[in-house]
């Protein structure tokens, strides 16, 4: 029985692929119900298979192993194969992708009801799950890169799903191109590693690297930096983060699946998977931590100043991933992955709840026009409260607390006080913007007709995913902590326990302060805050944070506009025109010479005589 389940592993990605092909080639003959059933069914079955394999793995029947299907390319030493790596890390990621993915697919059936082109939606979603699974299971970097680009493509297609509106298309292109820049860094990293070690197999690569390179080796740092570049692009960390906020143009389930639970965490997975290389480049590892901390704070402030529900959640995702990068930076890989898992649960919950609110309020996304939905949308309110609590890391009760606290503790254990302080400040900010969001939507008076007569969503497709995710975001979620000791080296705080409880106390204190302060501020001080944000320094900060510290505008002016100018100036092919000069020259010569044929007989006679004289003179002299 043991080997049988592992051999089922390829089913996990073949099922979504089959779903995609079925939906793509059905060309609309399937109708909405058929599309939902196939789309959700394929991911559901994949989740089931993952559960089976996971059970086997947990019971110890099937140890970590690599299942090679066939050799993809074989040219001399360059022989990447289509191989699936099964170990604790890939299994955790797989279960998150298929589990949360299934719930989101199920909810999307309700969310997308009545939309035209729903087969196209589910085809892309299944293709996304297929690529994400390949990314996670790939045992060599080229297969990982296949998944890496596949998810980028699907994120482009899904962000641009409502293609009638050109702005969505622009947002989708922006997302694809910014992540593509990251991918190029990763690609160059691949070339470097292959040239050095002649293999792309991750395990083999790490062992050869640790033998060949000593810590701090310039080439190791370069390779790590390049891999980090790729991770930054995909996980929307500073400086390649500007695409995530605009990526909210896609349908909400897409944001839930891609821009909260799975794709944006691919960068974290990559760094965790390649931790061997990063161990050899401590400076780069520290940089990872720094980037995480800075992004964490920046995104926190930005989330405070957004008016669109989904953009608040987008910046909050960016901030939470900052936490994961911080964890990786201090060497606490398992803490980072644990936070990844819990974050997937409560952030997917928040996004789905936001989706429910948006659909019920007839696609109204602006907080300023919502309000007072507490009694109208009870389930949505409940999920927002549970998700928000987990996000703000409400002590003891929520899963978010355990994972975030673990990260802060590991930061202290690794003597990174700076990162710890950033983390604490970040959790304060998180509390503030979460409360602002929940109060803005559910408390106070409904500020628009849509909000007034919002009807709560009905049916299992709407309620069950929300409830399941809500449960997972609480204490239960924390118990599902994956045991990654086999995959990662010991975390810094593994043995030293001094100060662990102290950090837990401080962390929970800041979380509670953040929540209470948020509640007091936004419940009672609403008008005063509005006045503060309207004049002088307040207005400046509000606009500055609203535009997320102006990175987007900066990139637009420094990179995008010059590029478009260059493209515009090159619209007429100069080099072709340059080669065309030969043609012009011929025409000019023709015009000149034809003037000499003016039909005057005497003119010709003189010309002949001149020629004759020249000839005679030359012959005479020779």
């Amino acid at each position: 029985m043991m080997e049988m389940t592992v051999s089922l592993l390829p089913l996990t990605f073949l099922l979504p692929l089959a779903g995609t092909l079925l939906l793509a080639f059905s060309a609309g003959r399937l109708g909405e119900r058929g599309a939902v059933w196939i789309g959700t069914g394929s991911v559901g079955l994949a989740a089931l298979v993952t559960a089976l394999v996971g059970a086997d793995f947990a019971l110890g029947n099937a140890g970590p192993q690599t299942l090679t299907l066939y050799t993809w390319i074989a040219v001399g030493e360059f022989a990447p194969s289509i191989g699936l790596r099964l170990d604790a890390l890939s299994l955790t990621m797989l279960s998150v992708i298929t589990g949360v993915g299934f719930l989101i697919h199920w909810f999307a059936g309700w969310y997308m009801r009545g939309e035209e082109g729903i087969t196209r939606f589910y085809a892309y979603m299944n293709l996304f799950v297929f690529s994400m699974i390949l990314l996670v299971l790939g045992d060599n970097l080229l297969l990982l890169f296949l998944g890496w680009e596949g998810v980028g493509l699907c994120s482009y297609l899904l962000i641009g799903y409502y293609y009638q509106n050109a702005a969505n298309g622009a947002a989708a292109m922006k997302a694809f191109i910014v992540t593509r820049i990251g991918d190029v860094f990763l690609a160059v990293g691949l070339f470097l590693l292959f040239t050095q070690f002649g293999t792309l197999d991750i395990a083999e690569l790490v062992t050869r690297a640790t033998q060949a390179w000593s810590a701090g080796e310039p080439l190791a740092q370069l390779a790590a930096l390049l891999i980090l570049g790729g991770a930054l692009g995909k996980s929307a960390q500073l400086p390649l983060h500007t695409w995530l906020a605009d990526a909210m143009a896609g349908p909400t389930p897409v944001s839930a699946l891609i821009h909260a639970a799975t794709m944006v965490t691919a960068g974290v997975y990559l760094i965790a998977r390649m931790h061997g290389i990063f161990e050899l480049a401590p400076a780069v590892l520290y940089l990872v931590g720094m980037i995480g901390a800075v992004t964490l704070l920046m995104a926190g402030f930005a989330a405070l100043a957004q008016t669109d529900i989904k953009r608040v959640l987008a910046y909050s995702t960016m901030s939470q991933i900052g936490y994961m990068f911080l964890a990786l930076g201090v060497g606490a890989y398992s803490a980072g992955v644990f936070h990844l898992v819990t974050h997937a649960f409560f952030k997917a919950l928040l996004f789905l709840a936001a989706g429910a609110v948006i659909v019920c309020c007839r696609h109204e996304q602006d907080i300023r026009r919502l309000g007072g939905l507490r009694r109208r949308l009870p389930l949505a309110y409940l999920s927002f409260v549970v998700g928000g609590a987990a996000l703000a890391a409400l002590p003891l009760v929520t899963a978010g607390f355990y994972s975030k606290d673990e990260i802060l503790w590991q930061a202290l254990a690794a003597e990174q006080q700076g990162l710890l302080i950033a983390g604490l400040l970040g959790s304060l900010l998180t509390g503030l913007y979460t409360l602002r969001l929940i109060v803005g939507i559910f408390h106070g008076e409904p500020k628009s007709k849509a909000a007034e007569n919002a009807q709560p969503g009905r049916g299992p497709q709407h309620s069950v995913p929300l409830l399941v995710l809500a449960v997972l975001s609480t204490l239960l979620g924390a118990w599902l902590r994956p045991d990654l000791s086999a995959v990662f080296p010991a975390a810094p705080g593994a043995d030293a326990h001094a100060g662990h409880t102290a950090v837990q106390l401080i962390a929970s204190a800041t979380a509670i302060i953040g929540i209470l302060l948020g509640a007091w501020l936004f419940l009672t001080q609403g008008p005063k805050l509005a006045r503060l944000a309207a004049e002088g320094a307040g207005a400046f900060f509000w606009r500055w944070w609203h535009r997320a510290f102006g990175f987007d505008g900066l990139y637009d002016r420094v990179l995008v506009r010059p590029f478009l100018g260059l493209v515009q100036s090159l619209r007429r092919d100069w080099l072709d025109a340059f080669c065309g000069l030969a043609g012009q020259l011929a025409l000019v010569l023709h015009a000149g010479l034809s003037r000499s044929q003016n039909g005057q007989l005497r003119h010709y006679a003189i010309a002949t005589v001149v020629g004759a004289t020249l000839m005679v003179v030359i012959l005479a002299r020779a």
Binding site: S596, N598, G599, Q600, L601, R602, A605, V609
Partner: protein, 102 residues
Amino acid sequence: MSGIPMEHGLMVASALFAIGLAGLMVRRNLMFVLMSLEIMLNAAGLAFIVASTAWAEPHGQVMYLMVITLAAAEASVGLALVLQIYRHFRSLDVDAVSQLRG
């Protein structure tokens, strides 16, 4: 009776040829052009005869015969053309006849 050095003969022929040539280029009346042409042809014939008698070879005179036939043919066609041109253009000005412009 020391005889005439060949160069003198040829010099005369060249002089005649140059005069004919100048006439060809200068005159704008078609008749004069034809006449100067005749002079040039005649100069060529003279050169042949000078060379023939210098080398005591009759071939020169045969060539002279050819020159004359050429001159005759050319003159007849030339004059016929002149007639047509005069009838068509009402004048013998060479420059008037310049339709074949590039």
